[in-house]
């Protein structure tokens, strides 16, 4: 286990370095740059723009800029956003709560409902329920989220007035738990639609796999009740591949859902990333890149470890 962890961690480190070099390179090679946002300012002259570039250290060689950035990061300094002047890590943590709230809720909904639909679809294969679930999943997967979002807003907010048009809580009011929940309903449901679809499809096929295994036939031959077989033998085995899937989804919980965040004016990580990219806010983009890369690596690692613990057939060398 220890050897496994060490080798995986060192692999991950190499991966992170490669990701950061590629990210840094692409980001800086893109034409435009952080000064583009001032390109139309009537009062900023070429002198001002050149001076700012010099002050920000953007005139140095790219490799010097990279090593400077990487060296600071190693010492725990993530840098400051060009735009805000605020520390990158502080901005990330400020956006993280919004993202965790939305993604956590929708993923929880998706896992609960998706698992149930998947299992029921597998045990009642080719039933009316299964057909509806299959068609529903296809529809949810093929229609873009923003469409569901806008339709949701149109029906529930503008026409019926039941739910707010967006935002994390009522603007200007002191946020209460109830207020948060009220605002959370629509975006989390919309977002979970896709996840339910994905989750239920995977769960269905995993359950079907498990049902056709020999040990299930043995259990039936022993005369166990269908319910007991399902709960004790099938679901446990079917959930194994889902752990890996969940591990792969962990980073997306933290990096946010850009489209849903935009439609519902949710101040999450997806928006932060897109805005930072739009303003060529290099330290911010790099910070977000490294942050999400860490969680991609961690998510996979955790999933592997959990699978190894749960599944006695796998031994970590």
């Amino acid at each position: 286990m220890r050897g496994f962890l060490l080798s995986r961690l060192s692999q991950s480190l190499v991966l992170l370095v490669i990701v950061s070099i590629i990210g840094f390179g692409i980001l800086n090679l893109l034409p435009g740059g952080p000064m583009a946002q001032f390109g139309l300012d009537p009062g900023m002259t070429q002198n001002d723009l050149e001076r700012l570039k010099e002050q920000l250290g953007l005139n140095r060689h790219l490799s010097v800029q990279y090593f400077d950035w990487a060296w600071r990061l190693l010492r725990g300094d993530w840098g400051r956003s060009y735009r805000d002047g605020a520390p990158v890590l502080a901005l990330i943590s400020e956006h993280l709560f919004a993202t965790l709230l939305l993604m956590g809720t929708s993923t929880a909904i998706a896992i609960a409902i998706g698992t149930w639909i998947g299992i029921r679809g597998a045990t009642h294969r080719y039933s009316l329920f299964d057909y509806f679930a299959t068609i529903g999943a296809m529809v949810a997967l093929s229609i873009p989220t923003f469409w569901f979002g806008l339709v949701g807003i149109y029906i529930f907010s503008l026409k019926l007035g039941w739910l707010p048009v967006g935002n994390m809580y009522e603007i200007g009011a002191e946020p209460s738990v109830l207020n948060y929940l009220h605002h959370l309903i629509l975006p989390s449901l919309v977002l979970s639609l896709v996840h339910v679809a994905v989750w239920s499809r995977y769960m269905r096929s995993a359950t079907l796999d498990a049902i056709s295994q020999d040990f299930v036939k043995t259990a039936r031959a022993k005369g166990l009740s269908e319910r007991r077989i399902l709960m004790k033998h099938v679901v446990g085995n079917a959930l194994l591949p889902m752990i890996t899937l969940a591990g792969m989804q962990l980073p997306s919980i933290l990096t946010g859902a850009l489209v849903t965040e935009t439609v519902f004016t949710w101040p999450g990580m997806g928006r932060l990333f897109l805005d930072s990219l739009g303003y060529s806010d290099y330290p911010m983009v790099m910070g977000l890149l490294v942050f999400s890369a860490i969680f991609v690596v961690l998510g996979n690692l955790i999933a592997d470890i959990i699978v190894a613990i749960v599944d006695p057939r796998i031994r970590l060398a």
Binding site: L30, P31, G32, G33, M35, A36, Q37, F38, G39, L40, D41, P42, G43, M44, T45, Q46, N47, D48, L49, R51, L52, Q55, L56, R80, S81, R83, D84, G85, A86, L91, E94, H95, A98, I153, S157, L158, P164, V165, G166, N167, M168, I171, G172, T262, V263, F264, T265, P267, G268, R271, L272, D275, L277, G278, Y279, S280
Partner: protein
């Protein structure tokens, strides 16, 4: 506070309203009974309620001296004060200054080199410390401090020998006479010396995240990526504030911004306003006021005069003649746009209304090109001396109204034997070196030429401002005309308004004749607000609709 004194009519209106309120149906009945809503027209005695301003970009820069964009201005105008401000009519009014400096009152010397500003003695910073001339000196020196990442330094770099004469008087000398400087000062907010001088690095000061000003609103809090909340400053020396809390809400998607306005979550739509396609729908919204307001931005086709195709004036004239501006404004822009012939906003004192009007005529355009010797080649595209009349037009990708305009122009230009290719780029690429260093053929762009209504357009029109040729400014079209250069120099040194009007009227004539860019229209902003939001005025001399939040209040 003249606004608080009430006329008899106000009383009777208020009384009527009160009586109706007692009957319990004021809100529903008033509009129907009186034909239009009858609101009390006096602000409340103490700050009440809150106003939510929607912005499509997020304000992130709160030190007003650091590089920032339009939406940041919305916050700066409320938290800070400048020495002078410019009112909607383009007239300077004192802000922190006791009097607007000019040559008549002797605050600016006849040669324009010696400046004096007399300051108010009753202003306090939000933390209670008194505001003095030391703060002004500190601010002006910080801007030119080479270690400080300052926003604009033009004008400020001419200032030297700053002397604090007394807590309420400051003087300085200019290296050369520069009339626009007063306008620059209207956009230069004064920051507190006693806070910032303690900071080792002004670029990373805590002040930059929680500013302290002298303005009508104090800093409340910021939820990054979501909103900023300001709180009324009860000791503000000017008029107001009348609302207790001012919220700037960031709503990145323009359609969502409009939807939130429609649903009532947003009280006022500021930058980038309501999109043209929602104007008609917005006007019909009950309880909302959606109006078309002039802006200083001129939408035009910028020609890169460094390209051989555009050296011939006949080509520029022919292209201009081939633009059906009426069709573009009416059918693509939903009528939201005002035809113009100049870079000077129509609301400006310096606007020249006597310029020849463009006339759309494809036959004439063809004739012009024929006469100038541009002959159609085998492919139908005109050419002369080996130069084909073919060029690319670029703008921000995803701006659908501009993209439609491009397609429309592509077709009409083809009819006179001119090929226009469309090559759009993301904003972050388009307005970087590509624009600043004149790497485009032509660009479709909304350009603002003025700073706080000063007519000096040197940065956009002078030969010395061509960055692609080593210049210092933003003359990205590479326009160069000796007469304009000399007029701009004269204008920048002239302090008399009438004398300046003559100069800039002539500049507009020459530029209209040379056509370095082809004006499409003066942009109009569709501004939406709740009908009960009173005291709101548009000021085209600022970059934000929230320039006077101190005067806003809710009609009861």
């Amino acid at each position: 506070m003249t606004k608080r004194s009430m006329s008899p009519t106000d009383y009777s209106r208020r009384d009527t309203l009160r009586m109706m309120a007692i009957s319990g149906a004021a809100g529903l009945m008033a509009p129907n009974l009186l034909g239009r809503p009858a609101f009390a027209t006096t602000p409340p005695a103490s700050p009440t309620g809150r106003v939510v301003v929607g912005l499509s970009q997020e304000p992130t820069v709160f030190n007003p001296l650091m590089p920032h964009i339009e939406v940041d201005d919305a916050v700066h105008f409320s938290v800070f004060d400048a020495l002078v401000r410019m009112d909607p009519k383009g007239v300077f009014v004192p802000n922190l200054a006791a009097e607007v400096p000019n040559q008549k009152n002797g605050d600016i010397s006849q040669d324009g080199l010696q400046w004096r500003v007399r300051l108010r003695d009753d202003v306090r910073w939000h933390d209670g410390k008194p505001f003095t001339a030391e703060d002004v000196k500190f601010t002006l020196e910080l801007i030119t401090n080479p270690k400080f990442r300052a926003w604009r330094t033009a004008g400020h770099s001419l200032v030297h020998d700053i002397q604090v004469v007394s807590p309420t008087e400051i003087t300085w000398r200019m290296k050369e006479p520069f009339a626009p400087y007063l306008s620059f000062l209207a956009e230069t907010f004064i920051v507190p010396k006693h806070i910032l001088e303690k900071e080792a690095d002004p670029n990373t000061a805590t002040f930059n995240q929680a500013p302290i000003g002298t303005g009508a609103f104090k800093w409340g809090k910021r939820v990054a990526g979501d909103h900023i909340e300001l709180i009324a400053n009860p000791t503000y020396v000017g008029e107001g504030p009348f609302v207790e809390r001012l919220v700037f809400k960031y709503i990145p998607d323009m359609t969502v911004l409009y939807t939130q306005f429609k649903s009532g979550a947003v009280d006022l739509v500021d930058q980038a306003y309501i999109t043209a396609e929602h104007y008609e729908d917005g006007r019909k919204l009950p309880g909302k006021k959606v109006t078309l307001e002039h802006s200083p931005s001129i939408e035009s086709i910028y020609l890169n005069l460094g390209r051989p195709q555009f050296k011939d004036p006949a080509v520029r004239e022919a292209l201009y003649t081939a633009i059906d501006r009426k069709a573009i404004i009416d059918t693509i822009y939903y009528g939201v746009g005002a035809p113009t012939e100049t870079f000077m906003p129509q609301s400006s004192f310096y606007y020249n209304p006597n310029l020849p009007a463009q006339e759309f005529n494809l036959d004439r355009a063809r004739k012009m090109l024929d006469q100038a010797g541009w002959k159609p080649g085998s492919d139908g595209i005109r050419a002369k001396d080996g130069v084909r009349l073919s060029f690319a037009n670029s703008t921000t990708a995803g701006n659908n109204l501009r993209e439609q305009t491009q397609q429309f122009l592509q077709q009409t230009f083809a009819q006179i034997g001119v090929e226009m290719k469309i090559s759009n780029l993301p904003a972050a690429v388009m307005w970087g070196e590509f624009w600043l260093k004149s790497q485009f053929d032509t660009a479709m762009v909304g350009v603002t030429y003025l700073i706080a209504a000063d007519p000096d357009a040197t940065n956009r029109l002078a030969t010395s401002a061509i960055a692609a040729q080593g210049g210092r400014g933003s003359n990205t079209g590479q326009y160069s005309n000796p007469e304009v250069d000399s007029l701009l120099q004269q204008g920048a040194r002239a302090f008399d308004q009438e004398a300046r009007r003559k100069i800039y009227n002539r500049v507009q004539e020459v530029v209209r004749n040379d056509l370095p860019f082809l004006p499409l229209f003066e942009s109009l902003n569709v501004i939406g607000r709740k009908e009960k939001l009173t005291g709101f005025t548009v000021n085209t001399n600022t970059r934000t609709a929230s320039w006077n939040a101190a005067s806003w209040y809710w009609a009861s």
